[in-house]
Amino acid sequence: MWRMNCYSSGVRERDMGQHVSLFLELLNKSSSVEAIFGAWLKGNGRQNSTSAKRTLAYGYITFVCAIMVVSGNSISVPPSDLGEHLGRLLNGTDVSFNVDGETFHAHRAVLAARSPVFHVGLLGSMAEATMPAITLHDIAPAVFRVMLRFMYTDTLPGDDELGTSPFEMMQHLLAAADRCALDRLKLLCAQRLWDKMSVDTVAATLACAMYSCSELKNKCIDFFAAEKNFKKAVLTDGFLHLGQKFPSIIADLRERVGA
């Protein structure tokens, strides 16, 4: 229980009633608590302040007080460790994937839980539901490895663990995530790609994001259209390829730049 003590003429004699004092008091003396306390004057529409000299409007003044209890008699709970635990799961695998010669073992239930596509494939009524080994096409083993790791741990490894060309890896991963309906993974990749955004990379990124990730695509276009970038980006090889493969992008750009 808290109490606000308000002294309209201050608390110290030497202040001669020149200000109002506000004190926060904890009523149950038996416990101790850490708290952050803030108080300010409610401004008339504009800013709130603690020290403005204001004339009273209609004789009223409003104090706003906020109390945030930081720590106290509560039980601390560690953050979620689900991904950690699943990531360490080695036994009980009931399916294996052949990806371009490499084999990966996994648990149907976990993959089905994480992706609707895998859900249908692994637990549905077609052939794969009863096949012990499944062949995946059109995906590189390295990419699959990272994607599989994500499905268990919900995390992406840092660039140093992503092989010789993390940038390329991200692009492949983005496409794979889109194909397998792993939306969070897709956005994580998009974020990484965006972090590496430069006039040299924008074209390639845009090419990758064209059909797979509209958020990234829009950001690329914005980046392209920004004046300081446009001149340089337009002259890269990547842009040339972009224009050839995706003529529509030129139209989008034109619109964006407002030519």
Binding site: T103, S125, A127, T164, H172, Y211
Partner: protein, 733 residues
């Protein structure tokens, strides 16, 4: 999780979108899907590779073939559905619904798998281009190709309605099949369910129940018909819960209620020999409850019941209070009213859910007819008097309390409460003075009830009566303690009544026997010695005496008689025979009272203390009286004709009413003055309304009287008329 190769820096190809150069790409891909769909519809899905099919569709969409794929899909599903339709159309009779259900299940299964294969298109192309998702598309195609196809649509509805009709006439049908069929319609959209089934269902039901009601309204009693209606309502509810959408319940209930109840409401209520009035008379709680519950669904149903109940109560009440036979016994009269109230309280609480509007109707009905008889206030007071007298059947105090509470209910209905007050005072006085109160506590309890109901001023004088008696007791005791000189005199007990608290009775004092005169004068001087400035007048028309009598045949008795009777009897100590005229002269008792007195002494069987010559009932001046020496009685103490509160004779009634009217005049004037003082200026009609409202707790003022009072107040210059508007009055300070 993974035991693939140890990690080495893997070589990744630069990311490149694949460009499809094969012109037959779409056709080849579509062929794969087309064949797969065929297998799916043929229940052969388990051999298909999901990975391959999903990847095929994925690539098609990626290469911008989404629109074409969607188009092909639509076409293809239609074809399959058309094949299914042929099968359904071909089904014979009872197998129709079964075949439909079978095909529906097949289609659902297939549709799920098709949607799974085309999941990528569902997530990308379809939302972007605002197309109908695959699953919903499949349902729409089903609806249009099968359910609404000309050959099937009508047949489906007819089949469903036919089955429902059969069930209504008592047959058992396949409810499971009904449920899956209606569920299918619901899955196709609420408008499909409503248009293709619910609306026609409701129409057909309406005509079914219209026919049903016509058939039975003519030959069933009201109770039986209501039972039928209730059964049908329950059946329909159950039917809906078993195989229809829950929202249909409300609608079908409305249909049944309308056809079976609302359309025949008046006829049912007023049905001869079995309608509402009969149910009320015979206390048929079950039927009444049913009627209330059912008519609650009908617009204005309860209003109809209530108004019929009200007029019935008013009619029976009116005949009760105006029946000359009933008026002969006031206590019975009131008891019947109480019984009637109890009866309807029970009916309303048991069958009408203690519905407040019904209780209000009951109250206003009672209020209406109780006041049709202007003797009701008197009779109710007599009833209470009867209950509060000694020797009463309700020896139990709790029961008495209950009865008095119920009587208070009746009291509340009275318009002329001031009249009741007058009578109650009279009757209470008689009870107190003759010592006939059964229980002081009950008397007080009754006073409290009246005070709660009417306020302090109603009961203050009544309480004064009790106080007087207590004081009198003390005074009498004090009298006897004050002197020892009283041994030779007859013992007296005096009750001193404060004028104003007690009902005024005109009294001419009669001539008391000398022994009595002596001791009473002693008392008078004792009393006036201690109470200065007061005046005592003996009320010889009240009071009683115990006389020790020795008869000629030797029998000794103690006679309990009234004061007047005492005066008469004591005369026979000095004379053997006396004529009426002589008695009248000696005692100076008023003629009417004296005649009654002599009648009670000489003509009541078993109490004939005197003999009258001649034995006729009427008393002529020359009739002679003497002591009956042959008098016998089994009891030693004989009571002769106690002064019991009788209902008034007509002249007495008139007198009481006149007095009440007189008392009302000042009350009306006081009300007028109060109102005018606060409002200053007011028009005639408003004064009327206000005055009536103010006086309503006590009585209903007569407008003519109010007008007269206003005139009188104007004369006495309390009010004046407005100069310009004759209808306005002004208060004069």
């Amino acid at each position: 999780m993974m035991n693939g190769q140890k990690k080495r820096g893997p070589r990744i190809e630069p990311f490149r979108h694949r460009v499809e150069t094969d012109p037959k790409f779409f056709d080849k891909s579509w062929r794969k899907l087309h064949d797969a769909i065929r297998e799916i519809y043929n229940h052969n899905a388990s051999g298909l590779s999901f990975e391959e099919l999903y990847r095929t569709a994925y690539n098609m969409v990626l290469h911008k073939f989404g629109p074409k794929l969607y188009e092909k899909l639509t076409e293809n599903m239609k074809e399959h559905l058309e094949e299914m339709r042929t099968c359904v159309e071909a089904a014979q009779g009872g197998l129709f619904l079964e075949e439909l259900e079978r095909k529906w299940n097949d289609h659902n299964k297939a549709l799920t798998m098709i949607r799974d294969i085309l999941m990528y298109m569902d997530r990308t192309y379809i939302p972007t281009n605002k197309k109908t998702p695959v699953f919903d598309l499949g349902l729409e195609l089903w609806r249009d190709t099968i359910v609404r196809s000309p050959m099937i649509q009508g047949r489906l509805l007819d089949t469903l309605l036919e089955l429902i009709h059969r069930e209504r006439t008592g047959e058992v049908i396949n409810r499971c099949l009904m449920r899956t069929t209606t569920k299918m319609l619901m899955n196709l959209g609420s408008s499909v369910y409503q248009d293709d089934f619910e609306r026609p269902f409701l129409e057909v039901s309406a005509s079914f129940y219209s026919g049903e009601s016509q058939q039975f309204i003519d030959c069933y009693s009201c109770g039986d018909y209501l039972r039928l209606a209730e059964r049908r309502l329950n059946e329909e509810s159950e039917r809906v819960s078993q195989y229809m959408d829950v929202k249909t319940n409300e609608k079908i209930t409305a249909v049944v209620v309308k056809e079976m109840l609302a359309n025949h409401m008046q006829r049912l209520i007023h049905m001869e020999n079995s309608g509402l009035v009969n149910m009320l008379i015979e206390d048929r709680y079950e039927d009444l409850t049913r009627m209330y519950t059912l008519f609650n669904h009908v617009p204005d149903g309860l209003t109809a019941i209530r108004s019929v109940m009200m007029s019935h109560i008013k009619d029976t009440g009116k005949s009760l209070v105006t029946d000359p036979e009933r008026l002969k016994d006031p206590v019975d009269f009131v008891q019947r009213l109480l019984n009637e109230k109890d009866k309807y309280d029970n009916i309303i609480n048991v069958s009408f859910n203690s519905d407040k509007s019904f209780l209000n109707a009951l109250n206003s009905s009672f209020e209406h007819f109780i006041n049709l008889n202007n003797r009701s206030p008197e009779f109710i007071s007599l009833f209470v008097d009867d209950k509060l007298r000694k020797g009463v059947k309700e020896a139990n105090e709790e029961d008495l309390e209950t009865v008095l509470d119920k009587v208070m209910m009746l009291f509340r209905y009275l318009q002329e409460k001031d009249l009741f007050e007058k009578y109650y005072k009279q009757h209470l006085a008689k009870r107190l003075l003759s010592g006939k109160t059964a229980s002081d506590d009950s008397e007080r309890s009754m006073l409290v009830k009246l005070k709660t109901e009417c306020g302090y001023q109603f009961t203050s004088k009544l309480e004064g009566m009790f106080t007087d008696l207590k004081t009198s007791q003390d005074t009498t005791q004090g009298f006897y303690a004050s002197t020892s000189d009283l041994a030779d005199y007859p013992q007296i007990s005096v009750q001193i009544l404060t004028t104003g608290s007690w009902p005024t009775q005109p009294c001419n004092t009669c001539n008391l026997p000398p022994e009595i005169v002596a001791v009473s004068e002693k008392f008078r001087s004792y009393y006036l010695g201690t109470h200065n400035g007061r005046r005592l007048t003996w009320q010889t028309n009240m009071g009683h005496a115990d006389i020790k009598a020795t008869f000629g045949n030797g029998s000794k008795h103690e006679l309990n008689v009234s004061t007047y009777q005492m005066c008469v009897l004591m005369l026979f100590n000095s004379s053997d025979v006396l004529t009426y005229r002589e008695i009248e002269q000696s005692t100076a008792i008023p003629a009417a009272d004296l005649k009654r007195c002599l009648q009670s002494l000489a003509l009541v069987k078993g109490k004939q203390v005197l003999r009258k010559e001649p034995m006729s009932r009427d008393i002529a001046d020359d009739d002679s009286f003497c002591v009956n020496d042959k008098f016998t009685s089994k009891l030693f103490k004989v009571k002769i004709g106690t002064v019991v509160a009788q209902k008034e004779t007509d002249p007495e009634k008139l007198e009481t009413r006149q007095r009440v009217e007189e008392d009302r005049k000042p009350q009306i004037e006081a009300a007028i003055v109060r109102i005018m003082k606060s409002r200053r200026v007011l028009d005639h009609n408003s004064i009327m309304t206000e005055v009536t409202k103010q006086l309503q707790p006590r009585f209903l003022p007569n407008p003519v009287v109010i007008k007269k009072r206003i005139e009188s107040l104007i004369e006495r210059e309390f009010l004046e008329r407005d100069k310009t508007d004759r209808k306005m009055y002004r208060y004069l300070a």
